[in-house]
């Protein structure tokens, strides 16, 4: 369903991704872990082509883009619209209410009529447990609430895959749970998800596959119980000991 082949990404001289291959089947949850600077965020950003890979192929559903030659802008947009992204720092639009944040995509990008979008957005806010907060501005919400609005905003575009980049690491510890719960529910509903996170409990409980990245390559991958309990690679062991 999602397939990345031999993706490379450099910034000037810095090679950040050095040949990544990854398949994610429909309805599966993949968790990516790895030290800071290993390229996790960059990989997610290549998946939704916020960053254009220097080399390689990215396919989602039927649409496949090869980055060996220059790509057409329109195709980029098309690929991007198949993904929904949730950011570490929420990145809500501060000048719009929770409801308007969720409405923005369907209304402006898809051009759906306003009434339909309002009920769609209201529904999504209820789904993430924030039906009451529709008219609040982001600064009036707690971090966990903001992040849940962020999830609703991404869902509003009905993406084929949801990408999460450390969605809970900016949150106060007692707020982490409410966001993870929404993500768990999504996974149970069959959403395809790629999640960068250091929440081990989530990874162990929800992930179908765990991928450990370091220095721009995938060092180890497998079922969560295997990777966490019997890591094969030295680097994986070392990393797991640091974060436990």
């Amino acid at each position: 369903m999602i397939s990345i082949r031999n993706v490379h990404k450099s910034f000037n001289d810095l090679q950040v991704l050095r040949g990544i291959d990854l398949e994610v089947e429909k309805g599966k949850v993949v968790v990516i872990i790895g030290p800071s600077g290993s390229g996790k965020t960059t990989l997610l950003r290549c998946l939704n082509v916020l960053e254009i890979p220097t080399q390689g192929t990215v396919s989602i559903d039927q649409l496949s883009l090869s980055f060996e030659q220059k790509v057409v802008k329109k195709q980029l947009l098309e690929l991007r619209r198949k993904t929904g992204m949730v950011f570490q720092s929420y990145n809500l639009f501060p000048h719009k209410t929770a409801l308007e944040n969720v409405m923005e995509g369907p209304m402006i990008v898809k051009g759906l009529p306003k009434e339909r979008v309002v009920s769609l957005a209201q529904g999504l806010l209820e789904k993430v447990g924030l039906g009451e907060k529709a008219d609040q501005y982001p600064h009036q919400l707690s971090g966990g609430q903001q992040q849940r609005v962020g999830i609703a905003r991404a869902l509003a575009m009905e993406p084929s895959v949801m990408l999460f980049d450390e969605p809970t690491s900016a949150l106060d510890p007692e707020l982490v749970g409410e966001v993870l719960k929404v993500m768990k529910d999504l996974a149970q509903e069959g959403m395809t998800m790629v999640v960068v996170t250091h929440e081990m409990k989530f990874a162990k409980g929800v992930a179908d596959e765990v991928v450990f990245m370091d220095q721009g390559v995938i060092v180890e991958r497998g079922r969560p119980e295997d990777v966490f309990n019997q890591p094969k690679q030295e680097r994986t062991k070392q990393f797991l000991s640091l974060i436990e």
Partner: protein
Amino acid sequence: MAPMFLSNFFENPDRVIRLWEIAQSSFWPLLEGALKFSIPLALISFAIGLMLAVLTAVARLSGLWPLRLLARFYVSIIRGTPLLVQLFIIFYGLPNLGIVIEPFPSAVIGFSLSVGAYGSEIVRAAILSIPKGQWEAASSIGMTYAQSLRRIVLPQAARVSIPPLSNSFISLVKDTSLAAVILVPEMFRRAQEIAAFRYEHLLIYVEAALIYWVICMILSFVQDQIEAKLDRYVAK
């Protein structure tokens, strides 16, 4: 040589009374100059200049280098040379090329170009001050560059740029006095006219300055209102 009051009041009460009369009789003509010319000139030029400023700022940030270069050149020329000379060129220079523009439109052109250049730097800085995450969030829900700019970035940049822009506007109100040189009978020109007849330059200039001051205070007040309104979505 006006504020003789201080030293001369007891020696010369007649003169003080005369000055008071002059100040009174010149008040309405000055105010009329302000209301009919200075303020409309400032308002119109600012509105046009602001559009220019946004266009120029976007051009400066665009990926096309000829556009960037053009915007840069425009800003450099306008900011690098005195406004008075620019007005001179528009009004007295362009006719040499067969382009003859009336005084008021000439002033509007000159001031708009000026606001456009100075304002573009403000708008550009404001756009750059919006966190990259906002662009990314907009892109991530599928918005194009233009959509992100219009719906997400510019509205937030507007809030950031209000204080410096209102500075520019206040400067503009005072700079309209330069329009006298191209035949626009704005307030400062009126002051000169009255002073020439009454021979009380300092008195009348101080009076004009006070009127400018009141206008600027009103503008500052309006600015505060707008800021407060836009602050509704920002934490206190």
